[in-house]
Symmetry: none
Subunit: 191 residues, 4 copies
DNA sequence: CATGAATGAGTTTTCATTCAT
DNA sequence: GATGAATGAAAACTCATTCAT
């Protein structure tokens, strides 16, 4: 892993935990054991690093969520189930405090900065459209009521997950996310 | 309105828009046209103001959402519909950027500070339990499938709303929240 | 006791403990349970209060040390002994931390402000000259070696007491002052 | 000299003159012609600097007073005389206003802060014990009355010097310190 | 590439003082 | 006389960024 990538990875962890604005360059320097010069060699500014972090994050999610889960050869129902499992698994007991890395940034940065906002928006759009595609597939396979609006339902599912993570973070209790996942599974016949 | 309340109200607006940490005392001073000394005459610290803001916010929501909507004499179905209407109305086109005042703070502060976290948690708990009570009432009146778990469903509803607001904020599009509300109405026979 | 005197007395205690500069008007207002308006009714400024405090202090010492001890009808030897006793008694175990009220101000303010400096200087001069007079009397009564220089010895005695209090304050141990007093008594045949 | 040491040295001078609390970071910044950032690059806080200043001060005194004078090969009488000379020389006419750097801090900080207090206390203890050792040596060499208590006398000598400096500072007159030194020399047969 | 010294604008906070009531 | 709201200068401290080495 290149030094630059190493810095991004470390910064991602800190930003996930403290938020972008509350994370100082020094926090990153200390955690990465590097000097100022090296940081500014790789990044032109804190903002530049922030963007790199979102890109790295979105790319990771793209790989794990979109490519490995949604674009796998599994059938739609299984894909949706895996997506829920993966989401739940991302928030283990110890990390339940941190919340969703993208969701946090969505809230912190959306009004603050267009570039951040759009990058995050694109990820959510991809996620929603993959969920919608899977739902459509389920409808086609007669596993789901054909009168539902798949796109809208996909938005609702992603909203529920993000809202569930928000509540989980606030209550410091992973149970609430599991509950939300259960409800989704029941409502969309994923069991 | 007392000067202190005036400062809180102004600060609430700014914090809703920029977040607690990104809001500087100077932002508030300028918006309220007061001097530093006056601010510290009413509040011992920025943190003290932050707490006052959350309390004010939670109290307002308690009045508007819990007391005026849930504890009104309307029947359960109507109450839930009103709650959804009220939520949607809170995010007009112009304010769609800001997101949920409590939700934003939940994400920004939950890991950072216990006092903030607990105050917000208590509000969410109240909200969820009122939704659960309304759902129970609907079940009793045979308006809803009796096999559903009302508490869990209430959590899912609140999660969906908060998640919907999060997506709306990120997409800068109020439509997504309206969509989520529709789905809730359909799923819980509120139409 | 007038309100003004009450404020002075309270301020004296706080200044003795924290020093003049480190004492804030608020400290005094809180301790005296009065408002800003009342304070500025009696004093034109913090400096004005400071001066009043030194004057009050010096006047008290003048009464207790100069008038009641040195200008009593006792014989010189007894007067000097009483002076030492009184000094020691002023620094009980609990107050050994505070040091000498005048000495502290002498160090804190002498370079800072001429008015303070001169007021304190006058007190020390009075003290020294009274000690000198007592020593002279002892010499005349053949209780002391006639070759000593009474004025210089008086300076040395006051220096020893003030230095002893300084060390006592720093060591937080009243013993050291008692030791110094003993030495003085032996050196000047006061036992 | 390193920049850090340079800042300490400059700060020592200012603190000697104004006291720790009355010295502002800006005072130091201006005197040293550096920016805030640089200051906080070397010190974590004003307190941190304060501690560094006391340590630097105590170390200097340790070198000049303890090592170079008391631990020299001279005989006891000469050592004590040198100590008095050195003390007097430290307070030239121009600097007579400032008083004793350690003594000032002893009075300003002893009640305020334990760490300062203890560092200063240790210096005074060292000084006292060296004086005591020298007196003991003089007693052994029959230059001094064997019935005196050397430790107590050492305390008295240091007290006299510190008290003399206090009076000198307050009277703005170096003469008084010279007088005190004379008295010490006579009392302990140092002439 | 890398270090960390240096800059300076901005942040939170304190506090003596004034002023309207 | 008395209250405490209001002012504003200055304090301690933070932090992104630049620059000499």
């Amino acid at each position: 892993m290149s030094k630059k990538q190493e810095i991004i990875t470390i910064a991602r962890g800190i930003i996930h935990s403290k938020g972008y604005q509350a994370t100082s360059i020094s926090d990153i320097l200390n955690a990465a054991s590097i000097g100022k010069g090296q940081f500014y060699h790789y990044f032109t500014s804190k903002y530049d690093l922030g963007l790199a972090v979102v890109e790295d994050l979105v790319q990771d999610l793209d790989q794990q969520l979109i490519k490995e889960i949604f674009q796998s050869k599994e059938e739609a129902k299984k894909r949706l189930n895996k997506m829920l499992d993966w989401n739940l698994a991302s928030h283990t007991e110890t990390k339940s405090k941190l919340g969703c890395a993208v969701g946090n940034l969505a809230i912190e940065m959306s009004e603050h900065d267009e570039t951040f906002r759009v990058k995050i928006k694109e990820f959510f759009n991809k996620w929603i459209s993959e969920v919608a595609a899977s739902l459509t597939e389920m409808v086609e396979e007669n596993q789901l009521d054909p009168t539902i609006n798949c796109t809208k339902s996909a938005q609702a599912i992603v909203a529920m997950i993000e809202g569930g993570i928000l509540l989980m973070k606030n209550q410091q209790d992973i149970e609430i996310l599991a509950t939300v996942m259960d409800i989704i599974r029941k409502q969309y016949h994923l069991i």
